[in-house]
């Protein structure tokens, strides 16, 4: 890729992502239009679209940067970019769609994203195993966990797809009582899924911050705040709440916030590498990954959707 082409593509991509993210998080999409008239399942579904879109935006940028770093040496490395971009697009569509029916295109894009994430995980596992030549279990070393294809990264794509797919199922759920998805109580199942996603993402942050030797005390935040959010969600999923889960709600909001604040920290991190932003072509790749922390925000939004469902329907 030539410098200028790459630069233009990267800039356009970033702008698209920011616009998309702005569109899904825009309050007006929910504001006055969202009221008592709408079914709680649809509200939750749209919140999930928003969560899915945010995670997709994060994975689009992150896989773009990381696979560029890997020089797109395998053509399949373009796949997560395409899939994340599509997921972002349909999520933006979903947040504006108040109909209580699944949308076929959204549905298939989400399913495709979930599948891509799984296949990607397989690719990454295989890739690590054969470094630097022959396949061996010994290759799953700290060195390769730190610097080879990140094992957990593709699952973020899968998560975006899964949450989106779940949102479609939620829209479809016709039951007059507590909504169910895949035969499970919808809110609880979503809370459990989100909790698992938070734990996995915190695990990845933990691994990479361990690589960075926790040189800054703030690096402990993503390995403490999100797991607590996950625990609160799990506890909610396991119990039959009678009153609003105020602590869980605020903790999830805090987790949403730290995702964005984390991105800010990472932007500063790139600046404090050698050459700062003037050396952006190296530092964006070798410095802290700017888009990564916003995955926490996406997941926390999904957790809030789950909480909404559960609070609406004690049996959801």
């Amino acid at each position: 890729m030539r410098t200028n082409d790459g630069l233009i593509a990267a800039t356009l991509g970033a702008l698209a992502v920011v616009a998309g993210a702005a569109a899904i998080t825009r309050k007006s999409a929910f504001g006055s239009a969202v009221g008592r008239r709408h079914q709680p399942t649809v509200i939750a579904a749209r919140r999930l679209n928003r969560a899915s879109g945010l995670i997709a935006a994060s994975t689009l940028l992150d896989s773009g940067i990381e696979h560029y770093r890997g020089a797109f040496h395998n053509r399949a490395m373009i796949a997560p970019l395409v899939v994340s971009a599509l997921t972002l697009a349909v999520s933006a569509h979903g947040t504006r769609d108040a109909r209580p029916v699944a949308h076929r295109l959204r549905d298939s894009v989400y399913a495709g994203a979930a599948l891509t994430g799984l296949i990607g995980t397989g690719f990454h596992l295989y890739n690590i195993g054969k470094r630097p030549g022959r396949f061996s279990w010994k290759n799953y070393s700290w060195q390769n966990l730190f610097y080879a294809s990140p094992i957990l990264a593709p699952s973020a794509v899968a998560l975006a797809g899964l949450l989106g797919y779940y949102s479609e199922r939620l829209r479809e759920s016709r039951s007059t009582g507590a909504p169910r998805v895949f035969g499970l109580p919808a809110g609880r199942a979503l809370a459990a899924l989100t909790a698992a996603g938070l734990v996995a993402t915190a695990g990845e942050a933990g691994l990479l911050h361990f690589r960075g030797a926790y040189h800054d005390p703030f690096m402990y935040v993503p390995v403490t705040v999100p797991p607590i959010a996950a625990a609160l969600l799990a506890e909610t999923a396991a119990s039959r709440p009678r009153k609003p889960r105020r602590l869980a709600r605020w903790w999830l909001r805090l987790t949403t916030l730290i995702g964005f604040v984390g991105a800010g920290f990472h932007i500063f991190g790139v600046h404090r590498e050698m050459g700062g932003w003037r050396n952006w072509r190296q530092n964006v790749l070798n410095g802290p990954p700017i888009p990564a922390p916003s995955s926490f925000s996406g997941l926390a939004l999904a957790g809030l959707a789950a909480l909404g469902l559960i609070e609406e329907h004690p049996h959801a």
């Binding site: 790459g6 770093r69 040496h73 050459g275 003037r278 072509r281 190296q282 070798n286």
Partner: protein, 212 residues
Amino acid sequence: MPDRYPGYDVLSKRNTASWNDASRQVIDARLAIVDSPEFFDERKWRTLRAICDRIVPQPAGRAVVPIAAMVDRKLADDHRDGYRDARLPPQREAWRRGLAALEAAAQARAGVAFHRLMTVAQDALLRDMQCGRLDGPEWDDMPADLFFRERVAHDILAAYYSHPVSWNEIGFGGPASPRGYVRMYFNRRDPWEAAEAKAGHEAAARDANENM
């Protein structure tokens, strides 16, 4: 010799993040070295240039690296290496003596100055020097093989490989600060590194190198 990195010019990175001010100053000064002697007299200068042409035969159709002048400046400054084999005199004296002795050998063997010899004959003389087969009063106990290794080859090659033209030839990245490198694995190239011409894909390499 095939052009392994067609179109690659390390100087094209001069105004990028790969070069800091210090590197720019140093390389600019090196490129400004004038191809004439400050230390050697005219006669030794001609011998030195002829030797440089054989130690580093520079391809035609390319700007010539003034290797002899770079060696000459090292001696003009008497910039030493920090060690000296006890069998050698200090570098200035070693060079003066060695060049005079090589001239004497050329005169004795062919009756002409070293720089007028055919390249084959020059190579033969240099090989004899390398193997320690040259001796005589001009050497004054300085072993010819040691002079060849520690001064001739050492100083001439250090000069050539301090010049950006040689870096282009071998695909070296050249100055790298503040920006270093990102892609560390086998067969991975950062966009600011030389692209190697693979058989059948020379044009792609040239394209990459010229648009760095």
